[in-house]
């Protein structure tokens, strides 16, 4: 069979860069294959994708040597428009790529640009909407859709063109776990029914492997490091060596000291033959110390029976109650619309609860204004661009103090201290425009920290970011928490964040708090994960299949063990970039 995508000794260098981003790539992909392309950020995996869909060299110019053929075309000659007939690209930003005013118009967008007559357009849009199960929502506007639905619309928008290759750029980045699972199933169905070739770029390897893929290609530093069937690849250590997350059960088995063999089919925990490993895993579990019980610290924030709704009929929060203790790192999880952001808005005073009380260090904060609360409760928005309003770092970080009339001398002192904590001190005289996204995020956190809040609330701290930025920000927050004892509440729908970085998870569904336990307990509880659109961790299945009666304890020990490994490995996690 002829390959549909063929790279031969392919090297590419961006015009603005000295070094090539891709080196001597040799890769053949055959029609109908389903491929996972994995690699850390900056590895060249996005560059590879851009070569396939023609953005390189059309929109992102540079120098190419070697050859590339995609569906019989040379992307260099065919350009973005020529390639878009053959390659459909689904981007990670579910909102940004929704262009049309309604589902139907968005799916029709490519057809409109190709001057397809209206009659034919209606027919083809209907068919594409059918494929992505959005046939009943053609008139909906993006605001009425969930993230997963928006993504399905984007998928419909490229399927409408009868493309031969589907390219997904981090499709799971903005979805809650349950929606992510549905997306992977849908991609799987379409790849089989429509006979298209599918390329998925994603670092959440375990989530993609929920359905079979034919091959995993690992890229780093512009080179292909591995190209193997999942069963084989998972037996090697290449993912871990390149700083990527293996499926958790695979890592756990490796921690137990086993070498996994391909013939035991490690691609899915459900079908994996665990017989050879059971004893070792059980043994590891019994010999790993149980986590120490946390001494109960003072309560910083307490919610008592809080109810809230924008109108009488529509209750957003129902009798929500919990307490957060000093020095804790807590996650607030639940799908879109579960009431997470509303809860944060109530704490910050943007809205007032209909009933119930919110206590900060034991004091009812109902009488405090937004500004007064802002001195004690720090809110960091999703994107730093939503907060930054000054051109210079010191000005931006000091803004909250300046407007409160703190003396210039004190502002300077506190700003410098904060910048040191945040690893921004060497850059203190830079303009903000010179910073990377991750550094801007740190500036936005610093501008809140400078006010010495009792608790820091972060709204989706890692949304829409790739794995490197994700890790950079999360390690930074963990360091803050460990070194300054800062209490942190994070709103998220990212299960990895919740499991790996927080001590406790509050689970919100339909405005009700249905869980308030350790992440390990939450993610090994089939009922809660089901109700809150979370996904059970595979450690749960591993534990049960190995005959461990307490899967939560197993998951918990695993996470602590991992954390201690990470701490020793990256003690310098706070180095200045």
């Amino acid at each position: 069979m002829e390959p549909i995508i063929e790279f031969t000794d392919f090297t590419f260098r961006y015009r603005a860069q000295k070094e090539p981003s891709l080196f001597g790539i040799n890769l053949k992909i055959y029609p109908g294959e389903k491929i996972l392309i994995a690699g850390p950020s900056g590895s060249g995996k996005s560059t590879l994708a851009h070569c396939i869909n023609g953005l390189i060299p059309g929109s992102l110019p540079g120098e190419i040597t070697g050859s590339l053929t995609v569906a019989g075309l040379n992307p260099e000659k065919a350009g973005v428009f020529g390639m878009s007939k053959k390659v459909g690209t689904v981007l990670q930003d579910t909102d940004g790529q929704f262009i049309g005013l309604t589902v139907a118009e968005d799916i029709a967008f490519a057809l409109e640009n190709d001057c397809v007559p209206q009659e034919e357009m209606f027919r083809r849009v209907d068919r594409a909407a059918e494929m992505v199960q959005m046939r009943d929502h053609l008139d909906r506007s993006p605001a009425e859709l969930s993230g997963g639905q928006k993504q399905r619309v984007s998928l419909g928008g490229v399927l409408v063109d009868n493309v031969e290759i589907l390219l997904f750029d981090e499709p799971l980045a903005n979805l809650d776990p349950a929606a992510g699972k549905r997306t992977i199933s849908l991609i799987d169905e379409i790849s089989r029914d429509q006979k298209v070739t599918v390329l998925i770029i994603e670092h959440r390897i375990e989530d993609v492997l929920y359905k079979d893929v034919d091959r995993i290609i690992v890229i780093n530093d512009g080179r292909i490091l591995a190209d193997a069937r999942p069963d084989e690849l998972l037996c090697s250590d290449v993912l871990m060596e390149q700083g990527m997350r293996e499926p958790l059960y695979v890592t756990a088995i490796k921690h137990a000291g086993c070498r996994i063999r391909p013939e035991d089919r490690p691609q899915h925990i459900e079908q994996m033959n665990l017989e050879p490993y059971r004893g070792a895993v059980l043994n590891w579990f019994e010999n790993t110390p149980a986590p120490p019980a946390r001494p109960a610290a003072d309560t910083v924030l307490e919610m008592e029976q809080v109810c809230f709704g924008y109108s009488e009929k529509h209750q957003i929060l129902k009798n929500v109650g919990f307490r957060i203790r000093k020095g804790e790192m807590v996650s607030l999880v639940g799908q879109n619309g579960a009431g997470k952001s509303t809860l944060a808005s109530l704490i910050c005073g943007f809205y007032q609860p209909d009933s119930g009380r919110i206590l900060l260090s034991g004091e009812d904060i109902a009488p405090l204004s937004i500004k007064e609360r802002g001195e004690r409760i720090g809110l960091v928005m999703q994107s730093p661009n939503q907060m930054i309003s000054k051109p210079m770092i010191t000005e931006e970080v000091g803004l909250g103090l300046t407007v409160r009339g703190v003396s210039e001398e004190e502002v300077r002192e506190r700003v410098e201290d904060t910048l040191r904590i945040c690893g921004l001190y060497p850059m203190r005289n830079w303009p903000i425009s010179a910073l990377s996204f991750g550094q801007k995020k740190r500036v936005s956190i610093a501008s809140i920290l400078v006010m010495n809040p009792e608790i820091l609330i972060l709204d989706e701290p890692t949304a829409g970011q790739d794995y490197r930025h994700y890790t950079e920000i999360m390690e930074f927050l963990r360091g803050l928490n460990r070194e300054t004892g800062l209490t942190i509440l994070m709103i998220t729908h990212d299960m990895h964040l919740m499991l790996e970085y927080t001590d406790r998870a509050l689970v919100l569904t339909g405005g009700e708090l249905i869980g308030d336990r350790t992440p390990a307990e939450i993610l090994t509880d089939p009922e809660i994960t089901e109700r809150a659109s979370l996904k059970k961790t595979s450690l749960y299945d591993l534990a049960l299949k190995c005959g461990i009666s307490d899967p939560a304890a197993f998951a918990h020990r695993f996470i602590l063990y991992e954390r201690s490994l990470r701490q020793t490995a990256s003690g310098q996690g706070r180095e200045v970039q």
Partner: protein, 275 residues
């Protein structure tokens, strides 16, 4: 949250009109309102505007706060006219009847009062038309019809996408304002006016930057799906002009001609009841 000034489907006959019809109506309406100072015509226009506004079933909360802002501008506008040129009305109408003395060289004359009254009702002829246009026009359908009358589609699509993002930008605005207020940048009435204007910058810049971020993603996504490939494009949301469209268009043009004829009939575009 009420979606301010954004399209809402309500299925009235005004919603069903083609976007281009509403655009042409709106433009002619503004032109006539700008040209004429004939109080009779302006009053008729207000009546028609209000009837259309009622027919469109537009809710007050969709437009209320924008209306209040316009009112503030109107009052400033009128005050400025009086302070700068208190005798403007007399110059225009060529008569002078003092109603009462105020102070300095400020007299309240019948002419000035009537002139300012006309300026005021001009606002009221146009405001409902603006609101109707914005809240009853499906942006993509408008782009389609503009393209059909010869506006390049890149321009008409840009307009429609701007309308499409009004709700998103509003959402951003609220979130940013809240967060900045929590940082201590007071936007409520407690702060002095000058201070408030200065502090608006702390919302405008973040709003600008987060919008830029959005634009970048959107334009990439559009290009990947062939936007700009051909000289022309077709439109999923295009509506053919119906009977009602033709009626409204003909009616608008006739009304415009009649309005202009009446306005200029006596050689001056200013009409006064005492002349």
């Amino acid at each position: 949250m009420a979606k301010l000034l954004s399209y809402e489907e309500k299925g009235t006959w005004i919603h069903r009109l083609s976007g281009i019809t509403k655009l042409i109506f709106f433009l002619i309406w503004c032109a006539l309102s700008a040209l004429t100072y004939d109080t009779r015509i302006l009053l008729v226009m207000i009546m028609i505007s209000l009837i259309a506004f009622a027919c469109s079933r537009t809710k007050w909360k969709q437009v209320g706060s924008v209306f209040r802002v316009i009112m503030v501008f109107m009052v400033l506008n009128l005050a400025a006219i009086f302070i700068m040129s208190p005798e403007q009305g007399c110059v225009i109408y060529g008569t002078r009847k003092v109603l009462f003395y105020i102070a300095g060289h400020y007299y309240m004359t019948r002419e000035q009062l009537f002139y300012m009254f006309n300026v005021m009702i001009k606002y009221f002829t146009v405001i409902p038309a603006v609101f109707i246009f914005l809240v009853t026009t499906n942006p993509s359908e408008l782009a389609a019809s503009m393209n059909r009358v010869g506006v390049p589609y890149t321009i008409s699509y840009a307009l429609s996408i701007a309308l499409r993002y009004i709700p998103d930008v509003q959402g951003d605005f609220h979130r940013i304002r809240n967060a900045q207020e929590a940082r201590g940048i007071e936007m409520s009435a407690k702060a002095r006016l000058g201070e408030r204007i200065r502090r608006t910058a702390s919302i405008i810049f973040p709003l600008l930057f987060s919008s830029m971020e959005r634009i970048e993603v959107v334009s990439n996504a559009m290009e990947l799906r062939s936007f700009g490939k051909n000289k022309k494009r077709t439109w999923y949301a295009m509506k053919p002009l119906g009977r009602n469209d033709r009626l409204v268009l003909i009616g608008t043009v006739l009304f415009f001609i009649a309005g202009i004829v009446i306005t200029y009939a006596d050689g001056s575009r200013f009409w006064a009841y005492w002349l």
